[in-house]
């Protein structure tokens, strides 16, 4: 029988971790995501699946624990909220440089600085443009429901290991704190030591056994030619990800004259905007990027050939709008509507912005 539970988004991440065969979670409390660590400590998965849970002394320690666990070929993860992710930036860069898979969950709050504990989407740049130093990308998944916070733990680990890259789930305080029904039927065991050896014996630091060469997890390379080659390898991996892993969702775009582009919680709000607009006879559709990197640029470029304009709704000062503009390449107007600092817009605020867009385009 399908198991359905009413849980918070943050609790869904904890349940997703246990049920997706996660080997280790390392985290530090910060609002609005502390329920993830709290739920794991309450459920004591080390007694059921053997999953390790450690409350670290800082986000810096958390991400470096993830680095160590990932180097051992294990499914490991951490979670935090915006200021904590800033502290993890160094570690994420090292994970990317050492080609290690992991899952990082950011339940965003408003910034900059200590900011606010209220929801925000102001970490889009941080998530999609790197976050730490050097040329690298993370795959970024943006859930818009509690169910997706559960499912994207599974998907995040799968993508991380398919490409040996860090994956970020970019959520926010709305999705993290709200309660919805979640199907928990998706479930799988942790990998056995034999499975880990058969999958990752050429890189995982599980102990140098038999005749295999020693494995070294490192991002260091002082020979510039070799360092460039490693960079080119990473870039070619990123091109493969861009061609294979773009995910997005469309709602009423077939005959749309205007497209709202929104991700995560904003997409939930904007879908109501689209219904309201349709009721008033406006031909409006919604495009919701599910992967923020890789970005659905090709699909947006296609739509740009036949719509009058785009409105990008996001809870920030205008971040994803830059990627939409790059894809549209000046063919039609692309405007931004946002609120900041923990203010969440209502569907009719986005609708008003759409009407202004329509008027200014004649």
């Amino acid at each position: 029988m399908e198991e359905i539970k009413l849980v918070k988004g943050n609790e869904a991440v904890a349940l997703g971790a246990i049920n997706s065969g996660c080997d280790g979670y390392f985290g530090y409390p910060i609002t609005p995501q502390s329920e993830i660590l709290e739920t794991l400590m309450e459920l004591r998965p080390w007694e059921s699946t053997g999953m390790v849970v450690v409350q670290a002394e800082s986000e810096v320690a958390s991400i470096n624990m993830v680095y160590g666990g990932a180097a051992c070929g294990r499914r490991v993860m951490t979670s935090s909220s915006s200021p904590g992710i800033s502290l993890m930036a160094e570690g994420i860069s090292y994970l990317a440089g050492a080609e290690l898979p992991c899952l990082i969950v950011n339940v965003q709050r408003g910034g900059p600085g200590l900011g606010t504990i209220q929801p925000s989407q102001a970490d889009y740049f941080q998530a999609t443009k790197g976050c730490g130093h050097g040329d690298y990308n993370m795959i970024v998944l943006a859930p818009n429901s509690v169910q997706e916070m559960y499912d994207f733990v599974f998907d995040g680990f799968d993508l991380a290991f398919r490409y040996r890259v860090p994956v970020m789930m970019l959520s926010d305080g709305i999705i993290g704190q709200m309660m919805e029904k979640v199907s928990l039927s998706r479930s799988r065991p942790r990998w056995s030591a034999q499975e880990i050896r058969s999958m990752s014996d050429d890189w995982a630091t599980t102990g140098r056994h038999g005749s295999r060469a020693r494995n070294i997890a490192s991002s260091l390379e002082l020979d510039p030619n070799e360092m460039e080659r490693r960079n080119l390898d990473l870039q070619s991996r990123y091109r493969s990800i861009e061609s294979a892993e773009v995910r997005f969702e469309e709602f009423l775009t077939e005959d749309a004259e205007y497209i709202v582009v929104a991700f995560g919680s904003s997409a939930r709000i904007a879908s109501e905007t689209v219904r309201m607009a349709r009721a008033e006879g406006m031909k409006v559709g919604l495009l919701r990027p599910i992967t923020l990197w890789p970005f659905p640029s090709a699909r947006i470029a296609e739509l740009a050939d036949r719509v009058k304009g785009f409105l990008v709704a996001e809870l920030n000062a205008g971040q994803m709008v830059e990627d939409v503009r790059l894809a549209v390449d000046g063919r039609v107007p692309v405007r931004h509507f946002g609120r900041m600092g923990g203010i969440v817009y209502s569907p009719d605020e986005i609708l008003n912005a759409l009407k202004q867009e329509g008027r200014s385009n004649g």
């Binding site: 390790v52 450690v54 470096n64 624990m65 070294i216």
Partner: protein, 242 residues
């Protein structure tokens, strides 16, 4: 004739990048011998730091993880928790462990992780060209204390081994050196004890090895050894602390 001594088979053929007179080569040898003698080659994962020993993975033939600056103890925590049957040790300098990595070090000690921390203290940043470390003695000249370390400007040298010996999670703290054959033998015994503690799940073992950095100190290897005996040992007293 019986063979009484041989080069550890865990030492690779790579030529070490360390300066002539540096203590790291000797300490690497002791680590390799200890792992080999305990039959732990396939069971051991080393965590190397940022600093002169960043390339430790080139010299000892075991699996290695190169950690970000100061974070070795956090990395080791996860490696050991996820693979509790493995031997896990960090190898860190004084800049890495007692400056930028103070937090990670103290908390791994306090959690009582079943790992070995090897702490090579030469009172200076070697790899970056001889800058002042938290461990630099008062009056000592470095690239960032060119007139000698002054407490009013730079604060005092500190003894992190004494600090971690106060923590319940730590089972063994010792301060050794490798400046003489007798000292090398004692240091090796201490390493063996630390590795055995980790095997027995007794908590964290902390092995400090007071070392010379003749390049950073701008002395010959022999002068540096004498200087260490006369200046470092009175402040960083050798022996078991816990």
């Amino acid at each position: 004739m019986d063979k009484v001594y041989g080069r550890s088979s865990l030492l690779t053929d790579n030529v070490m990048h360390y300066c002539p007179g540096c203590s790291h080569g000797t300490i690497h040898k002791l680590v390799a011998e200890t792992i080999e003698e305990m039959g732990l080659q396939s069971e051991t994962i080393g965590i190397s730091p940022v600093g002169c020993s960043v390339f430790a993975y080139n010299y000892v033939d075991i699996d290695w993880i190169q950690a970000a600056h100061g974070r070795a103890c956090a990395v080791a925590t996860a490696v050991k928790r996820l693979q509790p049957d493995k031997m896990v040790f960090t190898y860190q300098g004084d800049g890495d462990l007692s400056a930028i990595g103070t937090g990670e070090t103290i908390h791994a000690c306090n959690r009582g992780e079943n790992i070995v921390v090897i702490y090579v203290n030469n009172a200076i940043y070697g790899m970056t060209g001889g800058q002042m470390a938290p461990t630099t003695l008062l009056g000592m000249k470095t690239a960032t204390s060119p007139h000698g370390r002054e407490a009013a400007i730079h604060g005092y040298p500190y003894k992190i081994a004494e600090m971690v010996s106060l923590l319940d999670g730590v089972c063994f703290v010792t301060r050794q050196s490798v400046h003489s054959p007798a000292a090398v033998r004692k240091a090796k015994k201490a390493l063996r004890r630390a590795f055995e503690n980790a095997q027995a799940g007794m908590g964290l073992s902390f092995v400090e090895i007071v070392s010379s950095c003749n390049s950073g100190w701008k002395q010959s290897p022999v002068e540096a050894n004498h200087w260490m005996e006369e200046n470092m040992f009175p402040f960083y007293k050798l022996g078991d602390l816990k």
